[in-house]
């Protein structure tokens, strides 16, 4: 190690961020380098000096004033209209497709086109166009409209107005409709993957989330295109937050190949070991913790669990892993 590198590491070490093996190297270097030893003393002195500018906690008056001002500003915001909420929801859904813009645009075009075509056919078949462009339905045709077009009516999200034309049995109804879509493709298709990732977070039922996480996890275990962070992130979110233990179990299995190489995955697995409510998931987490050089967090967590966990089986499994301590540096 030369002094230039040592100077950089002295700063990192002063803030407790130097990995153990680099700290050891640095100590060895400073034993034989008085200049770098002086450098470290000066760095530590700077830290003490800078603490003469204290961080003041905000007082209760400041907090209260800030809160009040924020509440007034939020109260003054106009409420969102239904089409703004719908636009926001669509934007949220398509925000997840930023990694596959071409596929996302195609999907959007297909969806809009299909929805427009479906609406046009419905309008031709069922309605008399009024000059205002709204759907004008004869009152006595309401029943036949419902029975003939139940799938479309079940997709109606909002009825915004109903106006009966004077002196007639014509009623004008303005409504909005969601058009369900279906897409089919290979698991390698980025668009399919994006939809699976959406389903893993927003699936209407645990079964749907279970299926999507299961498919994504299988892809990762087979090392099919999990190098990017999108699928790994989706699995980590499922592991941390999904309420269904089966979903979390599958997410954990999908992350297995990345425990050693990705510290975020390792942290997620450590959190699962500490905090998950399912003992099977916790046991699986322990078995997944491979020896990781210089990661003392793994050892610390295993010690804590081996000494103090409420579950005797978890304690035993942790002790067994710790008995392989020479492999965990």
């Amino acid at each position: 190690m030369n002094c230039e590198v040592a100077h950089e590491r002295i700063v990192t070490s002063a803030y407790g961020e130097l990995p153990d093996e680099q700290a050891h190297e640095l100590e060895r270097h400073m034993t034989g380098c008085p200049d770098c030893s002086t450098e470290r003393e000066q760095m530590l002195a700077l830290k003490v000096l800078m603490d003469a500018d204290p961080v003041i906690d905000p007082g209760p008056n400041l907090i209260a004033r800030s809160r009040l001002r924020l509440e007034e500003a939020l109260d003054a915001l106009p409420p969102q209209r239904w089409y703004e909420r719908l636009e926001q929801r669509l934007r949220n859904n398509f925000a997840g497709m930023r990694a596959a813009p071409v596929a996302a645009c195609l999907l959007l075009a297909v969806g809009v086109g299909a929805g427009g075509f479906g609406g046009y056919r419905l309008a031709l078949k069922q309605t008399v166009q009024s000059p205002g462009g709204a759907a004008a339905i004869p009152v006595n045709a309401k029943a036949s409209l419902q029975t003939a077009d139940t799938p479309q009516l079940s997709n109606v999200t909002t009825i915004s107005s109903i106006v009966r034309q004077p002196n007639s049995n014509i009623v004008e109804v303005r409504f909005s409709q969601l058009v369900p879509e279906r897409v089919q493709g290979s698991l390698d298709d980025p668009a399919i993957r994006q939809l699976l990732m959406l389903a893993s977070e927003n699936g209407a039922s645990p079964g749907l989330r279970d299926d999507s996480v299961g498919l994504l996890a299988a892809e990762c275990r087979a090392a099919h295109g999990c190098q990017g962070v999108g699928i790994r992130n989706a699995l980590m979110v499922a592991l941390r937050y999904d309420r269904d233990a089966s979903v979390r179990r599958k997410a954990l299995e999908g992350l297995r190949p990345y425990v050693a190489q990705d510290i975020r995955v390792r942290n997620a697995v450590l959190e699962a070991l500490l905090y998950d409510s399912d003992p099977q998931i916790r046991t699986a987490s322990i078995n997944m913790l491979e020896p990781v050089e210089a990661d003392t967090s793994v050892r610390q967590v295993l010690y804590a669990v081996a000494n103090s966990d409420n579950n005797p089986q978890i304690r035993n499994v942790s002790r067994q892993v710790l008995s392989r301590v020479p492999e965990i540096q």
């Binding site: 100077h7 950089e8 700063v11 990192t12 803030y15 961020e17 000066q42 760095m43 002195a45 700077l46 830290k47 000096l49 800078m50 003469a52 500018d53 204290p54 961080v55 003041i56 906690d57 905000p58 008056n61 400041l62 907090i63 004033r65 800030s66 809160r67 001002r69 924020l70 509440e71 500003a73 939020l74 915001l77 969102q80 909420r85 929801r89 934007r91 949220n92 925000a95 997840g96 977070e201 992130n233 979110v237 941390r240 937050y241 309420r243 450590l270 500490l274 905090y275 998950d276 409510s277 967090s297 610390q300 967590v301 010690y303 804590a304 669990v305 000494n307 103090s308 966990d309 409420n310």
Partner: protein, 209 residues
């Protein structure tokens, strides 16, 4: 990481229980629930104000940053995709606002040892740092005030980014990896920025050591 006793493990379980409600709060806030958003604000407002107050030295400016940050959060919470923690997301908004503030104030000299309260009255921070010995020492108080001024002058010589990294690391105690995420850069870049900042500060404050 990890507890060291049974109480630590049960605290860990409590943390899991706390995390689940935060996810629910976020989802409810995304669905338009104002009370859910207010609960999120209460969880993070202290840290936001603490950072803004120390960086700007002004209660008024700290309030402005608080206001802007949470209004932005309210407006864009629908875009939050759980790809990072909510803590990182909100802190990212705050650090960007603080960076903008630092850039605007770069040419202004600030006496940071003095904080402005909401009515414009000055509060001398260093005068409020009490000397625990039983007797007062005016000379020492003066020295401390002058030291504070020199520290502020040295901090003002840093670039906004260097100042931000130093603030987040030294004063707020965040990890370099987190700082990298907040500033949309890598841990390595944050580390190099911290190194440059400390080097500049040592050069500026050399006479005091």
């Amino acid at each position: 990481m990890g507890g060291t006793n049974r109480d630590g493990t049960s605290r860990g379980r409590d943390r899991l229980q706390e995390r689940v409600p935060e996810v629910e709060l976020i989802r409810e806030a995304q669905a338009g629930s104002r009370s859910a958003f207010d609960a999120l604000v209460r969880q993070y407002e202290h840290q936001v104000l603490r950072l803004a107050l120390h960086l700007t030295g002004s209660e008024h400016d700290a309030e402005d940053i608080y206001q802007e940050a949470f209004l932005k959060a309210y407006r864009y919470i629908g875009n939050f995709r759980f790809e990072c923690s909510f803590y990182t997301w909100i802190y990212r908004i705050v650090t960007n606002l603080c960076l903008d503030q630092l850039r605007r104030r770069k040419t202004r000299r600030e006496d940071r040892s003095v904080v402005m309260d909401h009515s414009g009255e000055e509060i001398d921070l260093l005068a409020s740092v009490s000397d625990e010995r039983s007797y007062s020492n005016p000379a020492k108080e003066l020295d401390r005030k002058q030291l504070g001024e020199k520290i502020q002058a040295a901090l003002s010589k840093l670039t906004p980014r260097e100042r931000m990294v130093f603030e987040l690391k030294h004063y707020q105690g965040l990890r370099l990896r987190t700082i990298g995420e907040l500033l949309n850069t890598t841990e390595e870049t944050a580390k190099n920025t911290l190194f440059r900042a400390t080097k500049k500060l040592r050069a500026q404050l050399a006479e005091l050591r």
